[in-house]
C-alpha cells in the first residue's frame, strides 16, 4: 500500500480505480444486509473510521472458534447517530481492543462484512448499540 500512495500520481490512480469499479456513495439503505440473520464475531479492532455518513470498523477475528481469524468489515450509522443512539465516542473502540460484535451478515454468502447491531468491549463489558431509532427513547439526555 505504502508504495502505491508514494506520490500524488498514485493517489490519482487510486481515485480513478475507485471511480471505475465502484460508485462513490452517500447515505444508503442497508438492505444489502440480511436482517433475518444475526452473527457474532470475536476479535481485535484494527481500525474504526469515524466518518459520515457511515462509520466502519475493521476487525481481525472469526465467527467461530474453528475458523482462522480474518479481516472483517462492519458498517454502521453516522458518528452523530452513534453518539445519540448508542453512547459512542470517537475513541470508543481503539486499535487492539478485544471486542465481541453482533451483526447482520451480508446477504451474499462468503462476504466477511456486516451491519453492526452492537459491540461489547471485552475488557470493560461496555456495550455500544447502533439502532438509530433508539434516539427517540426518552431520558437519553
Amino acid at each position: 500500500m505504502r508504495y502505491l500512495i508514494k506520490s500524488i500520481g498514485a493517489f490519482a490512480v487510486l481515485a480513478m480505480m475507485a471511480g471505475g469499479i465502484s460508485q462513490v456513495a452517500a447515505h444508503h439503505s442497508a438492505s444489502m444486509f440480511d436482517f433475518t440473520k444475526s452473527q457474532t464475531l470475536k476479535g481485535k479492532v484494527v481500525e474504526m473510521r469515524w466518518v459520515n455518513p457511515h462509520v466502519t470498523i475493521t476487525i481481525t477475528g472469526s465467527t467461530n472458534p474453528d475458523e482462522a481469524p480474518g479481516d472483517w468489515l462492519i458498517e454502521t450509522t453516522s458518528p452523530g447517530n452513534l453518539v445519540r443512539a448508542g453512547g459512542w465516542r470517537r475513541d470508543a473502540l481503539k486499535p487492539g481492543d478485544e471486542i465481541e460484535v453482533t451483526f447482520h451478515p451480508e446477504r451474499e454468502a462468503g462476504k466477511k462484512s456486516g451491519l453492526l447491531q452492537e459491540v461489547k468491549l471485552v475488557s470493560t463489558g461496555e456495550v455500544f448499540t447502533a439502532n438509530i431509532r433508539d434516539q427517540e427513547k426518552p431520558g437519553l439526555e
Partner: protein
C-alpha cells in the same frame, strides 16, 4: 413598411437601418438594475428576534414516523413515477437498494426535511432564518420581505422566503434543481423534473416538539400537491451538540504517505453504497 424589390430599394432600407441602429440598440439595452443593499440590523431588529418562539437546541428527526408515513401517507405519484417507485421498493427488498443520494450530493429540498436521519439546528438573525444540519447541510430562508428572484437560479435547496404568522414560520421555496429527488427513503425517490414548489409551516407542536407541515407541488411526478408533516424532537444536552460531518469522507480513509503527509485515500464501495474494502495502513 413596404420594401421595393429592386437593388436601389434594398440599398435604401439598408442605409436607413444603419442610421437607426444606434437608436434601436440604445432603446433595447437592458437598464442596469439598482443595487439593493441589505441594511445593517438595528438594535430594534435584534430586539424583535427575542420575541420569536424559542427554537434553540438540537432538533432530531422522528425517524419512526418517517418510516410509518411511507405506508400511511405516500406521495400521490403519477402513473409513470408510481411504477418506478414500486420497482425501487422491489429492488430494495431484494438487497439491491437504489442510491437516491449518490455522490454525496445534498438530499436537497424537500427530501432533507422528509427523510433525514440526522439532527439540525435553526438560527434566527434579523431578516434570516438559517437551518444547519448535521452533515454540513444548510438552508437560507429570507424573512426580510423580499420576493423570489425574477431570473431563476436553481439550487439544491432552492430560493426560500419566509414570514411569521404568529409563532409559525411560513416558508415558500422555488427554484430547486430538477435533479433534486423527492424521496420517501434512502432507496426510493425520483428527480422532481422541474417546477417544484414547496410550502412549509413550521411551528412548535409542544414544548420540545417541532412540526414541519409541508405541501409539495411537483407537477411532473405527482398528480396533486402532497401534504405531509415531519416531526423533530429537541435535545439540549451538550454531548449531543452537532459536530462537523463531511459526507465525502465516507468514501475515504486517513493515511500517512511515504513523505509523512496526512492524506485521504479512497476506500472501495459497492454499487449500492456500502464500504467493501479499506486499504491497509
Amino acid at each position: 413598411m413596404r420594401v421595393k424589390s429592386g437593388p436601389i430599394g434594398i440599398a435604401s432600407v439598408a442605409a436607413l437601418a444603419l442610421m437607426l441602429a444606434p437608436l434601436i440598440a440604445s432603446a433595447q439595452a437592458p437598464q442596469k438594475a439598482p443595487t439593493v443593499i441589505n441594511p445593517p440590523p438595528t438594535a430594534q431588529d435584534w430586539a424583535d428576534i427575542a420575541k420569536l418562539p424559542d427554537w434553540s437546541g438540537v432538533w432530531n428527526p422522528k425517524i419512526s414516523d418517517q418510516d410509518a408515513q411511507i405506508k400511511t401517507n405516500p406521495p400521490p405519484w403519477n402513473e409513470a413515477a408510481a411504477k418506478k417507485i414500486a420497482k425501487m421498493f422491489v429492488e430494495e427488498k431484494a438487497g439491491r437498494p437504489f442510491l437516491v443520494f449518490s455522490n454525496c450530493l445534498p438530499e436537497a429540498l424537500p427530501s432533507w426535511m422528509l427523510v433525514t436521519h440526522n439532527a439540525m439546528e435553526i438560527l434566527f438573525t434579523p431578516g434570516r432564518v438559517t437551518m444547519l444540519g448535521d452533515g454540513n447541510r444548510i438552508r437560507r430562508i429570507y424573512t426580510d420581505g423580499r420576493g423570489h428572484p425574477e431570473t431563476s437560479d436553481p439550487t439544491f435547496h432552492g430560493h426560500s422566503i419566509g414570514h411569521w404568522e404568529g409563532d409559525t414560520l411560513v416558508i415558500d421555496t422555488t427554484d430547486i434543481v430538477p435533479e433534486a429527488p423527492l424521496a420517501v427513503s434512502e432507496a426510493a425517490g425520483l428527480p422532481n423534473n422541474g417546477d417544484m414548489h414547496v410550502i412549509e409551516r413550521i411551528h412548535l407542536a409542544d414544548k420540545d416538539i417541532l412540526h414541519d407541515d409541508l405541501e409539495i407541488i411537483a407537477p411532473n411526478i405527482l398528480t396533486k400537491p402532497w401534504k405531509t408533516t415531519r416531526i423533530f424532537f429537541r435535545q439540549r444536552a451538550r454531548k449531543f451538540d452537532i459536530v462537523e460531518g463531511v459526507c465525502a469522507t465516507g468514501d475515504l480513509v486517513e493515511r500517512v504517505n511515504a513523505d509523512g503527509d496526512h492524506v485521504f485515500v479512497p476506500v472501495q464501495k459497492s454499487e449500492w453504497g456500502h464500504t467493501t474494502a479499506v486499504p491497509a495502513k
